[in-house]
């Protein structure tokens, strides 16, 4: 009986041990299966939805900026203003001649300091086209903001004192975007100069027309920007191409004001 009793105990211990080991192995296998991705079904679906939204954002942001340049070439200022964030604090645009802080100033920028769509007399002979190429777009990991840069070969045609004037106007664009009510909007827009030159003059010849505060003088006598531009680089034979105007957006999780354009 003693032997029999011991055997029962041994049997119990062995059985428990084996069951425990099996359970541990099962759990380990299942856990390792979940390691990548370590998600439940609903988490996984949420992750897929976020990834889809971020991909959609890339397309939306590109369309948004292309609309901006399209509207600008036709002086469609009301449509342009509607592309900007309407109730997110800090909406801003930096033109080559200065910075406009806040939505009200942004409205002044386009309604007071740009040609108006209805002003056909002033618009006669004007053709200003910016194109957007070489895009780099990064959507935040949290899907709430996005950043993008573009190189923009463009041209600028006006009539000055009755004489037509045609210029090459190459710039760069940097922009931050934010989602408002389910739609992507321009939050910060910053235009950086490359060169502005009469069409028949080389960009390598100096002196060039400057992309700085003085550029405003080419547009109108009194501008309504809140402050001077923060960048004012224009190519000439004695300048070095800047490597941080704008900085190239890198993948990021949440928006950092320090990286704002």
């Amino acid at each position: 009986m003693e032997i029999s009793g011991n055997s029962s105990a041994v049997r119990g211990v062995v059985l428990s041990g084996m069951m425990g080991a099996a359970a541990l192995l099962f759990l380990f296998s299942s856990a390792s299966a979940q390691t990548k991705p370590a998600q439940s079904g609903s988490d996984r679906q949420a992750s897929l939805t976020l990834r889809l939204d971020r991909l959609q954002a890339v397309r939306d942001v590109q369309n948004l900026m292309s609309r901006y340049t399209y509207y600008q070439s036709a002086a469609m200022q009301d449509e342009t203003i509607a592309l900007f964030a309407q109730h997110t604090p800090g909406t801003r645009v930096e033109m080559l001649w200065g910075v406009y802080d806040g939505l009200d100033s942004v409205k002044k920028c386009y309604k007071l300091d740009h040609l108006q769509h209805s002003d056909l007399k002033k618009r006669a002979g004007v053709m200003q086209i910016d194109t957007l190429t070489t895009p780099i777009i990064q959507v935040a990991g949290d899907g709430k903001t996005a950043k993008g840069v573009w190189m923009s070969p463009g041209l600028d045609s006006t009539v000055v004192d009755g004489k037509p004037s045609a210029k090459w106007a190459w710039t760069k664009y940097g922009a931050d975007f934010v989602k408002e009510d389910g739609a992507w909007k321009i939050w910060h827009l910053h235009i950086y100069g490359i060169f502005l030159t009469d069409y028949h003059k080389s960009w390598a010849d100096g002196p060039q027309l400057k992309y700085d505060a003085s550029y405003a003088g080419l547009i109108g006598p009194q501008m309504h920007n809140d402050r001077p531009p923060t960048t004012s680089w224009t190519f000439s034979a004695d300048t070095v191409f800047p490597d941080d105007q704008p900085s190239i957006p890198q993948p990021y999780q949440t928006f950092d004001e320090k990286t704002a354009y």
């Binding site: 062995v14 099996a22 390792s32 897929l48 190429t133 895009p135 777009i137 960009w203 070095v240």
Partner: protein
Amino acid sequence: MENSACHERCLKEKKDSMTELRAVRRMLLCGLCLCFVAPLVALPARAQSQKKSREEITIERLEAIHEIENLMSEYYWMHASDQMKDYLMAYHTPGARVTNDLHEQSMVQTEKNTSAKQGLDRDARRIEMRSSPGFLHVHLEASPVIELAADGNSARGSWISPGLEADPPGMKPAPAGQRTTVGYWAWAKLGAEFVKENGQWRIWHLHVYSLFMTPYDQSWAEADPNSEGGGPPASSGPPGGSRGQGSGGAAGAGAPGGSGGPPGSGGSPGAGGPQQEEEAPLDKSTLPISEKWLYTPTAVYPDAKPLPPAPYDTYQFDRSTSY
């Protein structure tokens, strides 16, 4: 009787003991079986959780295409400000190369050619040369066609690239009577192939197909095709377009990407001549066809330089279609 009863009891105990031992043995066997079976039961669950849905695969492929477009754009943003681009290249994948049709030459890059020392040397040279004002190489990327292999392991893309350049005085010797800093139109087409290294898409092959290079005030129809696209005579041609890196090939005004040769070509700054130090002769059968083409009024526009990529399953090198 007592002896008999004792004998029977002993026999019974022995029998019970044997029965218990057999039971323990059975338990052991069962336990062992459970240990082996448990992971097998878990494996299908694991496989199920790792199996990607159609939606996941589609998302992954679209993300790859977006990363590749960003990657190529970053290459030319870096090129414009003449920053190091090495980190964008697939140096750890055999056969990485840059080909420039202006030079009719491919530069095969290997890990060996991008040793830390050489990388630092190049970086130092570039930083030094970046202080040279008057350098402008802006090449744009337009009309993208990007195809990801069905197996997801590689991708191919083509772009049309309008662009312009200017070089600092003295970098581009000018004929007598001409200014020393000249602005050039520099248009090209680009073909590129991509692979993933450590989870990141990288440029594996980059091929620059020249279209025309001409001074800003000279028509591309008037350019001299024998002078690197209408610029100064080839004999006095400029070094590779990128400051701080020799072309590694013939003198040239430096079309986008290929200008200055590929990162790691080992060219010395300002040296226009061949600089392929530490490189063995290349086996042309492993390289794409590279033939200089520049527009002239009698030239027929090439339809396959490059062909936009078509959908494909797995990357296979082909001299006539690979970039």
